[in-house]
């Protein structure tokens, strides 16, 4: 393959993206109202600026939630191969849990679980 493939690749990329943008511009029914132009459209008019300080606790909770969420994702491939690998897989997931548990204890120690 020479540079024709490369040019084709770029053209295809451009077309795909361009098509998606143009298509989404023409296809939908247009409804004009002011709230349509809000960045975050939730039905209720927003008030105030988004550049305000908010409690760092939200952030910490989100991170904690994410950690355990991702852990659950890791459990699925583990569960699939558990039957073949037997003991090795079990020990490995235990190590994984211990490290995760340490992380949770650390967060606890640092009072990330306390809502102030």
């Amino acid at each position: 393959m020479n540079s024709e493939g490369l040019i084709l690749f770029f053209l295809l990329g451009l077309t795909l993206v361009g098509f998606a943008i143009v298509f989404s511009y023409f296809i939908p029914r247009k409804s004009e109202n002011l709230q349509k132009y809000e960045t975050y459209e939730c039905g209720i008019p927003t008030y105030g600026l988004s550049w305000i300080q908010f409690n760092v606790g939200y952030y910490l909770f989100a991170i904690m939630f994410l950690i355990f969420d991702v852990e659950a994702v890791f459990l699925f491939p583990w569960a699939v191969v558990m039957k073949e690998l037997k003991m090795v897989a079990f020990i490995e997931i235990l190590i994984f849990f211990v490290i995760l548990g340490l992380g949770l204890m650390y967060a606890w120690k640092k009072q990330a679980l306390k809502w102030e």
Partner: protein, 474 residues
């Protein structure tokens, strides 16, 4: 897979275990006893440093995703030595009252980044490489923003995380193109599929190189370096400029030599241009810096350019000279950073103009700084000269005379700015010089290791010969 085969990963496993022990210690020690974490971390790390030097077995793990050889072990040991020196240098700073609540975080993050770098060096496929790279990068951004009440530190952290996100994106795109054309992410499969006629492959390769160049801060991708280096605490700056850069150079070399050796004509041309640009621009920018950290940032960009001279040759000698130069660079740059960090810690002064008349008040420190700057510039008695000499020899051997000539001219330019601080210390008079102070013992030990290393590595030929024994050319 037996338990024994995990011994291949001893560098990484040791570090992970140390990080976990420090974490457990953090959880179970009361707040007023946090001081014990520093000696704990340093002692544990020195054990891991010694274990790293034990004779190694070669082999690979996880179906070739992880591999190790004597050369790779040697590279890891070099990085280990560097981190050990940094741990000694940062001892006093990390135990400051402001930092006391986050002592263990410093060590955990530091060890985790090092683990990432080790996995990156040992990687046998692009996936492992990428995971290692990210593990190495993300904690560094947290470390750069370590002084969270210092605006510059926070700014540096944000700049680092944004620019490395961009570079990771570019790198991943490159990897996806390589995967798309070869159908494999394993290095050993990719080797056979690489061909110079495949332009999609070449495009992926260029993206891949750009991604790594970000980490080494080679010239078109160096823009983050100065601000991040200036903002970060001095210990982290030295970590970034020595360990992070060294690891990236090592993996760059391994990938170029073992995976992309069949398109060496292409990457040699690329590196030719990048090397000239990196050396010249690094040097020219360093000329005008007054902040010592920014100055060392640009000097380290120029040094990375010199390292490319060894890479371009593609020979055994070239490879050995690169590893040797990194070893020398670890000692000389860490010595310079050591002095800067001592003075910055004691007086808060980080500008070159503040160093006026330092020889009168602190003769030992100014001698150490002089020696390290000599080594960085490549002046004969110290190791830096031999490092540069081997790099230039490797490039000249393959007939890159013009490149060597440009590099030599740049060495002369660099002499000017390397001698500037020396002039400031020895000749310039100052009404308000830095006061005489006593250096703490761990920083002294770290400086002594660096200075002995600089002299010994230069004078004793066994170092270079040992490295040469493990190296391979294209």
């Amino acid at each position: 897979m037996s338990i024994q085969s995990f011994l291949l990963m001893r560098h990484e496993l040791m570090l992970i275990i140390i990080a976990l022990i420090v974490l457990i210690a953090e959880i179970f020690t009361p707040d007023h006893k946090k001081g014990i974490i520093t000696p704990l971390a340093i002692i544990l790390f020195s054990i891991s440093l010694i274990v790293g030097f034990l004779p190694a077995i070669e082999g690979n793990l996880f179906g070739g995703m992880y591999n190790t050889s004597s050369l790779i072990v040697l590279m890891k040991n070099i990085l280990n030595i560097g981190v050990f020196i940094i741990l000694l240098q940062s001892n006093k700073w990390i135990n400051l009252l402001d930092n006391r609540i986050k002592i263990s975080e410093f060590y955990i993050l530091l060890f985790i980044t090092l683990t990432g770098m080790f996995y990156m060096i040992s990687s046998g496929d692009f996936l492992m490489f990428y995971i290692g790279l990210e593990t190495a990068t993300i904690p560094i951004a947290a470390l750069v923003a370590f002084d969270r009440y210092n605006n510059k530190s926070a700014e540096g952290g944000i700049k680092l995380i944004l620019s490395s996100a961009l570079s990771s994106g570019i790198l991943l795109f490159g990897i996806s193109l390589i995967f798309g054309t070869t159908g494999s992410i394993y290095f050993k499969d990719v080797v056979g599929m690489v061909s110079a006629n495949d332009s999609m492959m070449i495009l992926g390769f260029i993206f891949f190189i750009s991604g790594i160049s970000f980490k080494i801060s080679l010239v078109p991708f160096h823009l983050w370096a100065a601000d991040v280096y200036e903002g970060a605490p001095v210990s982290i700056t030295s970590y970034l400029s020595v360990i992070s850069k060294g690891a990236a150079v090592f993996i760059f070399m391994i990938v170029l030599y073992s995976v992309f050796n069949s398109i060496s004509d292409i990457w040699k041309n690329l590196i030719y241009v990048i090397a000239i640009a990196t050396i010249t621009i690094g040097n020219l920018f360093a000329l005008r810096q007054d902040n010592f950290k920014r100055y060392l940032a640009f000097s380290s960009i120029a040094q990375a350019g010199f390292i490319l001279l060894g890479l371009i040759s593609g020979t055994e000698l070239g490879m050995a000279s690169v590893v040797y130069y990194v070893l020398v660079y670890v000692f000389s740059n860490l010595a310079a950073f050591g002095v800067v960090s001592i003075i910055s810690f004691q007086t808060g002064k980080e500008n070159i103009s503040d160093y006026n008349g330092l020889y009168k008040t602190n003769p030992k420190l100014s001698l150490a700084l002089t020696l390290s700057l000599f080594s960085l510039a490549g002046i004969p008695p110290v190791a830096g000269f031999f490092g540069k000499f081997f790099l230039f020899t490797a490039a000249a051997e393959k007939g890159y005379y013009i490149l060597v000539l440009i590099a030599l001219l740049n060495t002369i330019i660099s002499l000017y700015y390397y001698l500037m601080p020396i002039k400031a210390m020895f000749i310039n008079k100052s009404d308000n010089p830095i006061q005489t102070f006593k250096t703490d013992i761990t920083s002294k030990i770290a400086l002594a290791i660096c200075l002995v290393g600089m002299v010994l590595v230069g004078f004793s030929s066994t170092f270079f010969e040992t490295i040469l024994k493990y190296c391979f050319g294209i």
